[in-house]
Amino acid sequence: MIPLYWWLVVAAALFCIGLYGVLSRKNAIGVLMGIELMLNAVNVNLVAFWRYVTPQTLTGQVFAIFVITVAAAEAAVGLAIIIAAYRRRDTVIVDELDIMRW
């Protein structure tokens, strides 16, 4: 069986890729996708710890499903905001969405 830390390394890598995407992408959709990656990295962790540490209870799986649900809702809200911003501003580049800046 694959040892636990392999899973953890994958998850950590996934999280770092997501974080990098969030911090460096100019496109708002890219930022949103980075967030999805980070959430999924967490899911990988949750499921991995369930399988290796507490296989008798379902808590890890249930948590993962909750996260997926929330992530779907978050993606929907985020995309809606982006579409609305695009309609108004003709752009989805986050640096240009700056009317709230001083």
Binding site: V22, D98, R101
Partner: protein, 716 residues
């Protein structure tokens, strides 16, 4: 008839209201204003005469004890100032004379101030307001039952005399063509002189009143004159005298100022700068009579504690009166101004009144006051009429082109420019003669009876004492004064009415209007018959009427002096001699001549003409030092000490303020206040750079921070 007593407060109130009405409402309407004034005083006269009649009919209980209307006026802590009105025989006698003479003068004023003429005085209405107030003051003084109201009225008169003597110092420079600047200056100086000189006396009077109030707690005549009160006052010793004598002398000081007695007589001749009706008002009915009235009213205080014959306060009154009577008359000999002669005559006659009072005879003094008021008002109004005629003559002469220049130093008052006016102004001349005969004391004119009573009083006192004491000198001064009075009046009527006109103005002079000559004739009647009020052959009615007013005090007694043919005969002879002598000497005086008195008397005449140099003496002894002192004080204040000190303090303050300002600007403002702000501003500006407003930057910071914290957690 008792009803009339309730109207007594109205007597001074009506002229006062007239004054208020003119000042507040009608001063733009000259005719209405003068009519209000005349109506007011006439109404007041009617009420007064009603009161006089009621007093006569009421008999002794009013004439001696008096009718009273006390009014509690000012409660001041522990004491109450009472005021009120009182009428007794004395007051009634004054009430007969004062408002009536005032009325005559008011009517005369309407003509004198040229009502409706082109040369009508521009401040015509104001003049009538002032004289109404003047009359209100005198009437208030007469009906007062206490010294407080008396003093207030006294001061009202002082103010009015100032306003009226200086009446011509305010000229309407926009509407008058010929303003005599010298006259304006003289009027201003005369008004100030009158006010300040009488003020000297007023201060004395006021301190007397204060003293009296502090000892007795009351200023009401009836209470002061109670025998026990007088005894109490007499028992207190003050400055080595009984307090009552000190108070009496202080009050006499007030009377000396007001009644122009030596040595405070200097203001009265200068008061001639006022319009002539004012002179008549001051000299006859009001101002100067007030001083005599005060002494007469307070006679018990003068006598209290002594025999009448040797009361020191009373002796002072007699001495001052005698000096004034004699010296006033002598100065009158050498004056050229028709009104100044009369002014010195008034001073001298007031001296007679004081003599009478100083001998302890209330009736003699007041009788002369009453008759004098009538004939002196007559003489003044007559002289005003002459001056008026001369002024018109001067204008007429100017209009006919007979005077080369309009203003050739002509003075309408100068008797030496007059002459022969008896033909031009007969309706002025005859009343004037009546006034002259009354003043000189020719039987049966009023002055004869009253002056004679004073002289008889002195003569009898001399006979009683049997020595050449005070009564003798009083009598001698009185008799010599009578001679000189007759001389200067002879000189005056000869210069004014006889001889040839000595100036074009006299040639063209004409009679004054009826409103002026009418009062003259009325007054002439009184000058003729006024003496009957106390004529011995009628049983001295005035004596019985008012002689008893001071009986209640138990110190002043009224005794009738029997008619003395020797005294009367002597004074009549003296008067006739003087009058005829003066007339004969000056009858044919021609313009430009050195006048006879000057030829004969030489330096004495110069001395008299310069009024014994009393004014100069005052100038030297009082005014110069006072002005010098004031200068020094001024210098001390403004130049040397006080102002420099003040300036120094100011400068130091300014310097300190400058330093403080600098510190404030540099250290506080720029350093602390602005410095703090700038520092924070700069720091904020630098710090602001971290606030990019970009979520990704923030997130990066968060991520780095978390990593750092994690690193710290794991490896430390």
């Amino acid at each position: 008839m008792e009803f009339f007593f309730n109207l007594v407060p109205l007597i001074p109130l009506i002229p006062l209201l007239a004054f208020a009405a003119i000042v507040l409402f009608t001063h733009r309407n000259n005719r209405l204003s003068s009519n209000i004034a005349i109506g007011g005083i006439a109404l007041s006269t009617l009420v007064s005469w009603g009161v006089v009649l009621a007093t006569i009919l009421a008999g002794e209980h009013v004439q001696v004890e008096g009718w009273e209307l006390p009014i509690p006026w000012l409660p001041t802590g522990t004491t109450v100032f009472n005021t009120g009105f009182a009428v007794d025989g004395f007051t009634a006698a004054m009430l007969f004379m004062v408002p009536f003479v005032c009325t005559m003068i008011f009517i005369y004023s309407q003509g004198y101030m040229n009502l409706g003429q082109p040369n009508q005085d521009p401040r015509y209405a104001r003049f009538f307001a002032y004289i109404s107030l003047f009359a209100a003051g005198m009437l208030g003084l007469v009906v007062a039952d206490n010294l407080l109201l008396l003093f207030i009225s006294w001061e009202v008169m002082g103010l009015c005399s100032y306003l009226l003597i200086g009446f011509w110092s305010f000229r309407d420079r926009d509407n008058e063509q010929h303003i005599d600047e010298a006259q304006v200056k003289r009027a201003r100086a005369a008004a100030l002189k009158a006010f300040i000189t009488t003020r000297v006396g007023d201060v004395l009077l006021f301190s007397g009143l204060a003293l009296l109030f502090s000892y007795t707690g009351t200023l009401t005549f009836r209470e002061i004159f109670r025998p026990d009160m007088l005894e109490h006052l007499g028992s207190i010793s003050l400055l080595g005298m009984p307090a009552v004598t000190v108070i009496a002398l202080l009050a006499f000081g007030g009377a000396v100022g007001k009644s122009a007695q030596f040595p405070l007589h200097v203001w009265l001749p200068d008061a001639m700068e006022g319009p002539t009706p004012v002179s008549a008002l001051i000299h006859a009915a009001t101002m100067v009579a007030a001083g005599v009235y005060l002494v007469a009213r307070m006679l018990p205080l003068f006598v209290a504690g002594f025999e009448t014959a040797n009361a020191p306060a009373l002796q002072w009154v007699a001495v001052i009166g005698a000096i004034t009577a004699f010296f006033g008359a002598t100065i009158g000999l050498a004056q050229d101004d028709i009104k100044r002669v009369l002014a010195y005559s008034t001073i001298s006659q007031l001296g007679y009144m004081m003599m009478g009072l100083g001998l302890g005879s209330l009736v003699a003094g007041i009788f002369h006051l009453l008759t004098h008021a009538f004939f002196k008002a007559l003489l003044f109004l007559g002289s005003g009429s002459v001056i008026h005629g001369m002024e018109h003559g001067h204008h007429a002469a100017g209009a006919h082109g007979q005077t080369s220049q309009h203003d050739d130093g002509f003075s309408a008052n100068d008797m030496k420019t007059m002459g022969g006016l008896r033909h031009k102004m007969p309706r002025t001349f005859w009343p004037y003669m009546a006034g002259t005969l009354a003043l000189v004391g020719i039987v049966p004119f009023a002055g004869f009876w009253s002056k004679d009573e004073i002289l008889a009083e002195a003569f009898q006192r001399w006979q009683e004492s049997g020595a050449l004491g005070l009564p003798f000198w009083v009598w001698l001064a009185g008799t010599l004064g009578a001679l000189i009075t007759a001389l200067y009046m002879g000189r005056q009527i000869a210069l004014v009415f006889w001889g040839e006109p000595r100036h074009e103005a006299a040639t063209h002079a004409h009679e004054s209007p009826n409103s002026m000559t009418g009062p003259l004739m009325v007054l002439a009647v009184f000058a003729l018959i006024g003496g009957l009020a106390n004529a011995p052959f009628l049983g001295s009615p005035l004596h019985h009427f008012m002689g008893g007013v001071h009986e209640a005090s138990e110190v002043v007694h009224s005794a009738t002096v029997s008619f003395n043919f020797a005294v009367a005969g002597l004074s009549t002879v003296v008067a006739l001699l003087g009058l005829l002598g003066g007339w004969a000497i000056y009858r044919n005086y021609r313009a430009g001549e050195v006048e006879p008195f000057q030829r004969w008397l030489g330096p004495i005449f110069t001395l008299l003409r310069n009024k014994y140099y009393v004014d100069e003496l005052y100038q030297l002894v009082i005014i110069r030092p006072v002005v010098w002192l004031a200068d020094q004080v001024f210098n001390f204040d403004n130049r040397w000490v006080v102002d420099p000190l003040v300036n120094l303090v100011g400068a130091v303050g300014r310097a300190a303020a400058d330093i403080s300002l600098l510190f404030d600007k540099v250290a506080v403002d720029s350093g602390l206040v602005e410095g703090t702000a700038k520092a924070f501003n700069a720091f904020g500006g630098w710090l602001r750079q971290t606030q990019t407003g970009r979520v990704q930057n923030y997130l990066l910071v968060v991520a780095v921070t978390v990593l750092m914290l994690l690193g710290l957690y794991l490896y430390l």
